[in-house]
Amino acid sequence: MQEAMIKRAVQLLADGTVNRVMGWKRGEFVYDITPAVFTTAEELEKDFVCDDFTQANLSKYLVKESRKEGKILAFLKPCDTYSFNQLVKEHRIIRENVYVIGIPGGPKLDIEKIKAKGITGILSVENENYTLKIETIYGTETMPFSEAVSGKCSGCKSKKHVAYDELIGDDGEVLDSNRFDMVAKLENMTSQERFDFWRGELSKCIRCNACRNVCPACTCENCVFDNPKSGIDQKAAADSFEEKMFHIIRAFHVAGRCTDCGECSRVCPQNIPLHLLNRKFIKDINELYGEYQAGADTTSRAPLNNYNADDCEPSVVHERGVE
């Protein structure tokens, strides 16, 4: 796969279709892969990588890249194409300046899950028939592939590309995923249990803003949390209230636009399951206003920019499920 991608990228660079390539760059270790822009065949051959660890969603970088001179080639996984489409719809990405090649998605691996097994000093990770063979300074370890699958891939919603100029490999289908199971589980808890659950999770927050800055839906030039005129520009969660405030508003600002790409939870240094907040909004929207998948197209009206005269009243919240 990686060879085919490099070959095609080199071709497109050579024939002048594009002048840059957005992809992933090899790091010091097998897993520390950085999104990068390549401009020459040599760079591509030396550093371009696409493997089990290339999880990062490249769409957000295209907001800036598509405004530069010339056309850029971007390799997008199925989930990334949803974010891409959403940004095109919001006029953040200039579609004509991007040449999209759809590539098959995951499941990708999460190095944290490997380390959680107590495996350390990792030198290499090989996938042999869905068993991971991990070379470390302390010897060789093995573990099942499935146990190291990234959280954002385990609830995969779709293997279908919703935007591309060409494909490498086959297109997939929208999946019948179980991604709302955890949200439903929380909904069935008591109010006190839910409060305790979130109190535990959100108190870990260090307000590093990684979830916000990585989010392809968060593309405001000046975020309300950075704007001194907003009156809520908190640098640190000085009180537990501010933790809740930040995360509620962060999720609310992307409600109806979040494609559920899972980047927020992936990047959280404290492993807070932030995607559950976003999924809660998606689940509510689906249930109350009809099925909606942000990024699936570039023309539909977002649920929060829309209404029906017979929409439900907010009192539904008070009447359903467990108090």
């Binding site: 949200v183 929380l186 909904e187 109010s191 006190q192 249990e193 839910r194 409060f195 305790d196 659950f197 979130w198 109190r199 309300v224 009156g231 809520i232 000085a238 009180d239 537990s240 209230f241 501010e242 809740k244 405030m245 509620i248 508003i249 999720a251 609310f252 409600a255 907040l277 809660k280 909004f281 509510d284 929207i285 109350l288 206003y289 649920p303 929060l304 829309n306 209404y307 029906n308 005269a309 929409d311 439900c312 009243e313 907010p314 009192s315 539904v316 919240v317 008070h318 108090e323």
Partner: protein, 146 residues
């Protein structure tokens, strides 16, 4: 649940200028009583109420927040309250999801002619919140009254 009779909850009511605020006015001119611990904030339209306003009210000491707007279809700006309805539904649902007591939040449609409804809604809401006791799950400890 034990109810502290001495507890006077602080209620913030965001009222739309065209209907609910006039409704509150009417209830006043009709000499209808509604609890004095309801603090009314007048907004041009219920959809002016940003989710942050609601959270800020809780932060600064509110025990309950209620939003009042024109009845659906009667919005002075044609469709403002339809957007309010979706937005606030999702927000209240999220607060509930985070374990904040659901009875601390409410939305009611009150027209300019419904002075009696305004008074009874407030009466009811205050009594609901009073049963819950002071807001502890969504409070900012720094702002607790000393």
């Amino acid at each position: 649940m034990q109810v502290n009779e001495n507890f006077k909850p602080v209620i913030v009511a965001f009222c739309c200028n065209w209907c609910s605020y006039a409704g509150a006015d009417l209830s006043g001119t009709n000499r209808l009583n509604y609890p004095a611990n309801v603090k009314i904030i007048r907004v041009p339209c219920s959809c002016r109420v940003n989710p942050m306003f609601i959270l800020r009210a809780f932060q600064k000491g509110a025990d309950g927040v209620i939003i009042c707007g024109c009845h659906p279809g009667d919005c002075h700006y044609t469709s403002g309250n339809y957007f309010t309805r979706r937005r606030i539904t999702l927000l209240y649902s999220m607060l509930d999801f985070l374990g904040i007591e659901r009875k601390r939040t409410r939305l009611e449609w009150v027209s300019a002619a419904e002075g009696a409804k305004f008074a009874s809604v407030m009466e009811q809401f205050v009594s609901d919140v009073q049963k819950l006791g002071p807001n502890r799950r969504l409070e900012d400890l720094r702002c607790r009254k000393q």
